[in-house]
């Protein structure tokens, strides 16, 4: 969203030096210097998360709070179509920040906590999001936390390993959070993630984060994982990456994310862009986000999609899926070509390559419900 943020790449998370010491290859991402991979490389890191457990520094993401009671935070529903009254205490929900054209300004996770809401925002969008939120919420009741780090712990062994360090996290069910203690200090942990694996996101003070990661890494089953593998993991899981699969011009209907908008909000049509969204829910949108499985050739973001001679769409994320052991992609195609199994062609380096619409995820999730 915020294009400027891409250019200023001098921000560092509290773990910057830690990443360097661990051999992290640092690259500019959303204004930050972030590790794209460690010496093991993306492939091994990806497979490690699928088989054991990986930890990711995602502290570049925005951690935002709205303090107060329902009266203070309910106006958020004008721009974030989520039924906040029905959201249970400690429950998290994936949803979107809408704009007036029915487009998506960001995708985000909202958690209801004692004393308000916690919201996790995409790094590149966070300052813009905060401005947008301040249009409906009194800024004195909000805070963007730059004193907090965010660590994702993902993989089939995540629960076993984190529960040894912080007893009780195993009791959390998927998309729920709670306050815990680490070293006598509060940490907020949700059972969530963006890899298609079971796992947690731990919001922890910057002063404790290195120690926390070091203790986890003492276990040989735990590896640090970079943003490269995070990208291939989320793509295999069929999850969207904002700025690629979603942008200000794509609507939740086109993005196949109407499930991320609460039923009540859709029925009442009381959020920004609701008219466009509801019209598309009723009559359909002209294009739709789908999973695409190329037969052989890797198709990257920007590859054109054809049906015969007709250009029918574009790839928005694409690469090699290490667990699928083949190319995977997602993109937008005209609605009439969005059925599972529809045969398509992708243009890569000037040549056409066959592919099929594929019902995502490419890799089956193992979330704990």
């Amino acid at each position: 969203m915020n294009q400027n943020a891409e250019k200023i790449s001098d921000l560092k998370t509290a773990l910057y030096n830690f990443h360097l010491n661990k051999g992290g290859k640092m690259v500019p991402f959303a204004g930050y210097q972030m590790p794209v991979q460690y010496p093991d490389g993306i492939m091994k890191e990806h497979l490690h998360v699928r088989s054991l457990v990986g930890i990711f520094d995602v502290s570049h993401m925005g951690q935002f709070s709205i303090y107060g009671n329902e009266n203070d935070y309910l106006p958020l529903e004008k721009i974030v179509p989520i039924d906040l009254k029905s959201l249970k205490l400690n429950q998290s929900k994936y949803t979107v920040l809408m704009n007036k054209d029915g487009g998506i300004d960001d995708d985000l996770i909202v958690t209801k906590v004692e004393g308000g809401l916690n919201i996790v925002l995409n790094a590149a969008c966070k300052h813009h999001d905060v401005e947008r939120i301040h249009e409906v919420i009194d800024s004195s009741k909000t805070k963007l936390h730059d004193d907090l780090s965010l660590i994702a712990i993902q993989g089939p062994k995540a629960v076993e390993i984190l529960n040894q360090l912080i007893p009780g996290v195993s009791e959390l069910v998927f998309m729920n959070g709670s306050k815990f203690k680490f070293n006598g200090q509060d940490v907020f942990i949700t059972r969530s993630g963006y890899t298609g694996e079971d796992g947690f996101e731990v919001s922890i003070n910057n002063s404790l984060v290195e120690q926390f990661c070091k203790i986890l890494l003492d276990n040989n089953n735990v590896k640090l994982i970079g943003l490269g593998a995070r990208d291939s993991l989320r793509l295999e899981a069929g999850l969207c990456l904002y700025g690629h699969d979603l942008n200000t011009k794509t609507t939740p209907v086109e993005a196949a994310l109407t499930w991320a908008l609460s039923k009540k909000n859709k029925e009442e049509g009381n959020f920004l862009g609701a008219k466009i969204v509801n019209e598309q829910i009723k009559n359909g949108a002209s294009k739709k986000r789908v999973g695409i499985k190329p037969d052989k050739t890797i198709a990257r973001e920007g590859s054109k999609i054809f049906k015969g001679d007709k250009e029918i769409g574009i790839v928005t994320s694409g690469g090699f899926g290490p667990s699928v052991n083949g190319p995977v992609a997602m993109g937008y195609v005209l609605k009439e070509f969005s059925k599972d199994g529809e045969e398509l062609e992708l243009e890569v380096r000037g040549k056409r390559h066959s592919a099929k619409v594929f019902k995502m995820p490419f890799y089956k999730k193992s979330y704990v419900k």
């Binding site: 794209v36 490389g41 993306i42 492939m43 990208d231 890797i298 690469g319 090699f320 190319p327 380096r349």
Partner: protein, 125 residues
Amino acid sequence: MAEKKYSKKHEWVELNGDIATVGITKHATEQLGDIVFTEVPEKGKSFDAGGEAAVVESVKAASDVYSPIAGEVTESNEAIVSDPSLVNQDPEGNGWFFKVKVSDANQVDELMSKADYDKFVTENA
């Protein structure tokens, strides 16, 4: 076996008679990471020195492989197409990309020696 010569775009060339074998350097594979896809030129295809000749893809990105010398393709390495990880395992041996019948063997002399290439990599790290 002739001495390998190196290009600034991280390809190597080994000339035997008028046939040059081309591949990418160990340094290039280390930068790319795990190679998951390769595309090699068809036999009979010809290109100028520096022309796009093949493609190598890691999990993260696709890169072009250029031919440091002009010529016509006599053979491509199908083994790296069926098993792209061969390029990581043995970049300057079994992980070669293609062979060309060179049109001007003198072009090889313009490329760097191993020592010069290592220096070039260090200076541009």
